[in-house]
């Protein structure tokens, strides 16, 4: 009984700690947004590089090459923009969450090979692009203050929506 009470109190304290900075938590800063967007692209490049090493499927390889090229181009733009704006990308819970999720998935994928790898990779690409597109639409774009950053994110959303469609076509073909 005592233990339960204590953990209840601890939970209440954690809850207060998490919910107190309401406004800061509601709206990420441009520095945080830039970091999330850059990290999202970087993680997809890493996944693609794994696919380029492991897959033998021509369509998967072409898709992975497309991902490396597009995400690199977007991230180059993002880096140039933060430099121009004098913003230092800032690590935050959202980007940390993406990194954690993605490194778990990478470890899982690394154990697979052949068609099993191809299917898991492309299924994850579908899920991943859905997550990132959702975050762009619901949080990152509406929260960004700088208009150039907002515009780059809007273009990014169009590009990643294209990737999602491409990944869905491939996933359907492979299953």
């Amino acid at each position: 009984m005592r233990m339960i009470e204590i953990s209840g109190v601890a939970a209440a304290i954690v809850l207060v700690a998490v919910t107190t900075p309401v406004h800061a938590a509601d709206k990420p800063s441009d520095a945080q947004i830039a970091h999330v967007a850059y990290t999202a692209g970087d993680l997809d490049i890493k996944a693609a590089q794994l696919a380029l090493k492991k897959s033998k499927n021509a369509e998967i390889l072409a898709f992975a090459n497309d991902m490396v090229r597009d995400h690199q181009a977007v991230n180059d733009k993002a880096l140039a923009l933060v430099k121009k704006l004098g913003v230092t990308p800032e690590d935050n819970d959202t980007s940390k969450g993406l990194v954690k999720q993605s490194s778990e998935k990478q470890a899982e994928l690394a154990k697979l090979s052949g068609p099993d790898f191809d299917k898991s990779y492309i299924d994850n690409e579908v899920a991943y692009h859905k997550t990132v597109d959702g975050a762009l639409q619901s949080t990152l774009i509406p929260s960004s203050d700088n208009l150039e950053l907002k515009s780059l994110l809007q273009t990014g959303l169009k590009i990643f929506t294209g990737h999602l469609e491409h990944a869905e076509h491939l996933a359907n073909a492979l299953h």
């Binding site: 072409a62 497309d66 090229r69 597009d70 181009a73 977007v74 733009k77 273009t155 169009k158 590009i159 929506t161 294209g162 990737h163 469609e165 491409h166 076509h169």
Partner: protein
Amino acid sequence: MLFVGRRAALIVLAQALAVAAPAGEIVQVKISDLAFVPAEITVNVGDTVEWVNEDFIDHTATAKSGEWDVMVPAGKSGQVQLDHAATITYFCRVHPGMTGTIRVSAKR
């Protein structure tokens, strides 16, 4: 004899090139913010469509029929000459939501 043969072959080649490239017009389609602009165009047989990519990422113009697949790198352009009357739908392989239509009409 061999020399004459070569010369004749060159003349045939020159004639073939002249036939393959009639003086058609070049019709431009912009690629801007992940869209073909205009998305629908009408051209004549022998005309060339030139896609001008204003985006910072590479695109393709790929016929759904598979008859051509044109790379249009970021900030660059790509061309295809239309050699028969048809309605051709095309898309970008990297971003398949990007689509366009070319109506190729037989020349009067």
